[in-house]
């Protein structure tokens, strides 16, 4: 029986709603909300004109474009190849599968600076890969392309690990059912597999994107950090801090926060709309 208590929530077999919810609010406040609000409070200390001058300077705008643009491209690349990796890990069996699976998680564990240095060494004009790309006119290290490479490396596990369980849960049977009904492999993918994993894929994309926007360590080594060209927004923040311009740093941070939040909300809204559509 659904009885109501003074607090207005339903009696439930799940224990400790009050305690767990209280802790959730407390922890979220302490760990997420208070530091974030500090960013806005600090920013509010500077005047509007000053804020616009720092946060919307041409240099800052180009840095936002690079940060968000490269993160989006990297997340998109990861969405495609991460889905493929997840499919291989779930559907096929091969010797060394556990090792491959562990490799996927490495970008999580590796200090990002190490990743940045390793990638730079590979893609620099005298590096293993860079020496062949450079003559072909493709410059990866010390260019925006390098930023995309670094963010792709960082973001891969997010897509693989969010899609993998959904794909496993979907089962091979639906793909077999599609084949028995005459669907080609492409039709089976586009009409059966993809729609089923799309929400998870969107979540993975969002996580990889968010991670990419905030990434600092690996990018600063490979990007070359040329102002107006290969400079990411988090680097601008660090530069402001080095000049003891804390308000300036928080101004850029606040702008990035609002933009990131808007993008993530949009992805969430898209997923909610999709869920609503299929459960209607």
């Amino acid at each position: 029986m659904a009885t109501r208590t003074l607090l207005g929530y339903r009696r439930s077999i799940l224990p400790g709603f009050g305690l767990t919810f209280g802790f959730t609010v407390f922890a979220l406040s302490l760990i997420v909300l208070i530091p974030l609000s500090a960013v806005f409070i600090k920013t509010a200390g500077m005047g509007w004109d000053q804020f616009v001058a720092v946060a919307f300077s041409r240099r800052a705008l180009l840095a936002y474009r690079l940060s968000f643009g490269a993160a989006a491209i990297a997340a998109l690349i990861n969405a495609v190849f991460g889905l493929l990796v997840a499919w291989v890990l779930v559907r096929t069996d091969f010797p060394g599968k556990r090792i491959v699976s562990a490799l996927v998680d490495l970008p999580f564990a590796l200090p990002t600076a190490v990743a940045g240095i390793a990638l730079t060494a590979l893609y620099a004009s005298n590096g293993w890969i860079g020496q062949y790309l450079e003559p072909a006119g493709i410059k990866v290290a010390f260019s925006p392309l390098g930023v995309v490479v670094a963010l792709t490396f960082i973001g891969l596990p997010f897509v693989v690990r969010t899609v993998e369980p959904v794909l496993a849960d979907l089962g091979a049977e639906v793909e077999e059912a599609a084949a028995s009904l005459g669907a080609t492999r492409w039709q089976s993918f586009t009409r059966v597999v993809f729609p089923a994993v799309a929400p998870a894929l969107a979540t993975g994309f969002a996580l990889a994107f968010a991670r990419g926007v905030g990434e600092y360590g690996s990018v600063i080594f490979i990007a070359g950090n040329l102002p107006f060209r290969s400079e990411i927004a988090p680097l601008l923040i660090v530069q402001q801090l080095e000049q003891y311009n804390y308000a300036g740093a928080t101004a850029i941070a606040a702008t990035m926060l609002v933009a990131s939040f808007a993008v993530l909300m949009a992805i969430n809204a898209l997923q909610a709309w999709d869920r609503g559509r299929r459960e209607a």
């Binding site: 089962g171 049977e173 639906v174 077999e176 059912a177 599609a178 084949a179 028995s180 009904l181 005459g182 669907a183 080609t184 039709q187 009409r191 059966v192 729609p195 089923a196 299929r278 459960e279």
Partner: protein, 344 residues
């Protein structure tokens, strides 16, 4: 359509799933593949469908070799134990799937597809559920949708893998009667896998009894039940009790009695005899027959079920007229009325 397999062999690692299976499903026939788990029946069905490929051997449809054709080119309908419905599609879209994936030149017009879906929804007795999603249906309803989806493409052969395995007993029974009716109306050659002997005997025109990757017997339900060809079939069907016996001159020597052998004739020597629970007469102790001790007696409606102990093993017997006043611990004699014996 005639579906044939020729000497199929399939191994998974060291495990031999099929060891030379040759079988024919006749046009319009309803064929059951019956066997314990691990007997290879599902592997055989999946190879017919093209969802698995044999190590050697051939599959032919009406004499045409299908061995190298992928599932989508075989013109089959396949029904899975766990339905395998497309969760993100409505029931109607699920049923229409096989038609909408056809190349444009073979694809019916949208209106024709809609009409076909409606017709199938009526056939599976779910006329109002086209707009629902699979998650909103019961297990029995989902399996009906899965069947409608398989029938939508007008398959040349319908293959069903334990179609009622995930359903509860009542729904199971209703659905199997209904499936038989659908089959009788459509006359599409059908092969279904089951480990439930009652289901196989009730539903099929012929039953294929499988064991360890081989076919033990292919015959009508009546024949496999009453004239089991091998000891395995006899043991697997009908809860038979097993005894040691001697075979001599066409007769079976058991418990001091010599009885005619109801199984195919075998040579002389040691044998194993099978007696089904209802094939015993209960006599007083000391009479010729199998000496037994009563352990438990249960009166279940018309029949009494007697659980007896013979030389340390449990033997089950049922009797319509058990002697009155039987109590556990009593000695009695079991007199087999029908014995099937096979060389040991």
């Amino acid at each position: 359509m005639t579906v044939e397999t020729h000497d199929l062999v399939k191994r998974f690692g060291g495990f031999a799933a099929l060891e030379g299976v040759t079988l024919q499903a006749r046009p319009g026939e309803f064929l059951a593949l019956l066997g314990p788990s691990g007997s290879g029946k599902t592997t055989l069905l999946r190879i017919m469908a093209g969802l698995d490929f044999p190590d050697s051997g051939r599959v032919t449809f009406d004499g045409v070799d299908m061995s190298d054709r992928p599932a989508r080119e075989r013109g089959i309908g396949f029904v899975f134990q766990h339905y395998a419905l497309f969760r993100h599609m409505s029931v109607a879209d699920n049923i229409a799937f096989g038609l909408t994936v056809r190349p444009r030149r073979d694809r019916p017009a949208a209106s024709a597809i809609a009409a076909r879906v409606k017709e199938l929804l009526d056939l599976v007795q779910l006329p109002d559920l086209g707009k629902r999603y699979p998650a909103q249906l019961s297990g029995g309803q989902r399996q009906r949708v899965a069947l409608a989806r398989a029938l939508a493409v007008e398959p040349r052969v319908l293959l069903l893998d334990e179609p009622f395995g995930a359903l509860d007993a009542k729904v199971r029974k209703d659905l199997r009667r209904w499936l038989r009716a659908v089959h009788d109306a459509s006359h599409v050659t059908s092969v279904f896998v089951t480990h439930d002997q009652e289901e196989a005997l009730d539903l099929a025109d012929r039953v294929v009894v499988m064991n360890k990757g081989r076919i033990e017997q292919v015959d009508t339900p009546d024949a496999v039940y009453n004239r089991p060809a091998t000891a395995f079939v006899c043991d697997f069907l009908g809860n038979a009790n097993r005894f040691e016996c001697a075979l001599r001159g066409g007769g079976v020597e058991i418990g001091g009695l010599t009885l005619p052998n109801a199984a195919p004739p075998a040579g002389d020597g040691r044998g194993q005899a099978f007696v089904r629970p209802h094939e015993f007469d209960i006599a007083a102790a000391g009479q010729p027959g199998i000496a037994a001790t009563l352990r438990r007696v249960a009166h279940t409606g018309a029949l009494a079920a007697l659980e007896c102990e013979v030389e340390g093993r449990i033997v089950e017997a049922t009797s319509a007229r058990p002697p009155e006043g039987l109590t556990p611990g009593d000695a009695l004699t079991l007199v087999p009325t029908t014995v099937r014996a096979y060389p040991a």
